[in-house]
């Protein structure tokens, strides 16, 4: 399986954000996208996920086979928001996403164990702290299997120990022949991954 992006360009409200971004990732490769605020890291991830239209270039997933016919189907997208309902419990939230996304991978209890929150399953999501919410949202990546993870500032709000734990989860995903594209301005602690720096549009 290969994720190939050629000459990607994107624009926001008619202004080009970036252009000419190319990368090629095969199984087990990670890509860390860095750059100053406003350089288009989030935009790049949303373009890759197909949530924003391309202004130029092409992106495709090769060799996904029948299970992953296109890139959108093969993606987990972790955005700025956690995509969880505050009125439902953590378990209800995760169970919903597991059933909705299909391809169950880990049990919910196991996934919560992996992010270090085994005790919160029956609490409403709204009662959790920012960091805990983020970790539950990371557990969502684990309950269903997707080969490609698109992570937008995944460690926002996490403490040092959780960051380390998350780095281990990402390394395990790469080991399982997954692909990770992460946008961040904090080092993620991943070794042996490719790096892409967006410099941002020239400003007056």
């Amino acid at each position: 399986m290969r994720l190939i992006a050629e000459n990607l360009g994107a624009e926001r409200g008619g202004e080009p954000v970036f252009s000419g971004v190319s990368f090629e990732l095969s199984e087990g490769d990670g890509l860390v996208v860095t750059g100053p605020n406003g350089s288009g890291k989030s935009t790049l991830l949303r373009v890759v996920a197909g949530l924003l239209p391309l202004a130029g270039g092409a992106i495709r997933l090769d060799g996904g086979g029948e299970d992953w016919p296109d890139l959108q189907a093969a993606c987990h997208y972790l955005g700025h928001q956690n995509a969880m309902k505050t009125a439902l419990t953590v378990e209800e939230n995760l169970r919903f996403w597991q059933e909705f996304c299909g391809a169950p991978h880990m049990e919910i209890a196991e996934a919560l164990e992996m992010v270090g929150l085994p005790q919160v399953a029956s609490l409403p999501f709204g009662y959790l702290s920012t960091g805990q919410k983020r970790r539950v949202s990371i557990a969502r990546l684990l309950v269903s299997w997707r080969p490609v993870w698109l992570l937008d500032e995944p460690t926002a709000g996490l403490d040092a120990a959780s960051e380390k734990q998350f780095a281990a989860l990402m390394a395990a995903h790469l080991q399982d022949d997954g692909i990770i594209v992460a946008a961040t301005h904090i080092p993620l602690g991943l070794e042996g991954v490719k790096a892409l720096r967006l410099e941002g549009a020239t400003r007056c």
Binding site: P69, Q72, A73, A83, E92, F96, C101
Partner: protein, 221 residues
């Protein structure tokens, strides 16, 4: 899909979901009408079906604007659009509409016989109005999805959604009320307007989710 239906039902019923707000609004609208038009029992019985329908229409517009907005704010909508190849987005939208209807509009239909008594309606008229509401209100939810999808990125889109979809909901209101009258007033037929009402609901059930899915796809930013 079932998982989505259950989740939306739970959200509608739990605190802050607002499913009961519609019923309360419906109750308030119908309860003040007799005070407004006076205690003329014949007049009340005559305008009863219309008042029930108008009340139910307005009450089912409440909360429609949150149909997709809540999911957009917490990022769930992105994931639903991403899952397009697994669950067609139009089907996701249709499921959300059905869950919205079951959680917040079905209680209105269930409450309408009681409110029909308030309006001094005959048993046949009450039964006919309840039946037309049961068949006709899903159409409002499906049309409402289009308005909700178009206005999804507007923070105060509530009234806009209502104004956008009201013209489309007018035919539903016309045929719903005329079928309800047809059951009571003798020369008027019941079945033809009722069949047209069914056709409207079935038609909107197809067109509404498709249009809403398109609007959602192009409305992402």
């Amino acid at each position: 899909m079932l998982a989505l239906f259950i989740r939306d039902m739970r959200l509608g019923i739990r605190a802050g979901g607002g499913a009961l707000v519609g019923v309360l609004f419906f109750l308030a609208v119908v309860a003040v009408v007799p005070f407004g038009v006076g205690p003329d029992l014949n007049l009340l019985a005559r305008i009863g079906p219309a008042i029930l329908w108008i009340g139910a229409l307005l009450a089912s517009l409440l909360g429609l604007d949150r149909l997709f907005q809540a999911d957009r704010e917490d990022g769930s909508l992105d994931l639903m659009v991403l899952a397009d190849s697994r669950h067609m987005l139009a089907l996701t939208v249709a499921t959300k509409c059905l869950a919205h209807w079951t959680a917040s509009v079905l209680p209105l239909v269930i409450a309408s016989p009681l409110l029909g008594l308030f309006m001094n309606m005959e048993p046949v008229g009450i039964a006919a109005t309840t039946l037309t509401l049961l068949v006709g209100t899903p159409a409002i939810a499906f049309v409402g999805a289009v308005g909700a999808a178009v206005a999804v990125s507007l923070p105060r889109g509530g009234l806009l959604v209502s104004v956008l979809i009201l013209p489309l909901a007018i035919p539903v209101l016309i045929f719903g009320v005329s079928a309800a009258y047809g059951a009571v007033a003798d020369p008027n037929p019941f079945l033809p307007p009722f069949m047209i009402l069914c056709a409207l609901t079935l038609g909107f059930a197809v067109v509404g989710p498709l249009a809403a899915a398109l609007a959602l796809k192009f409305g992402l930013d």
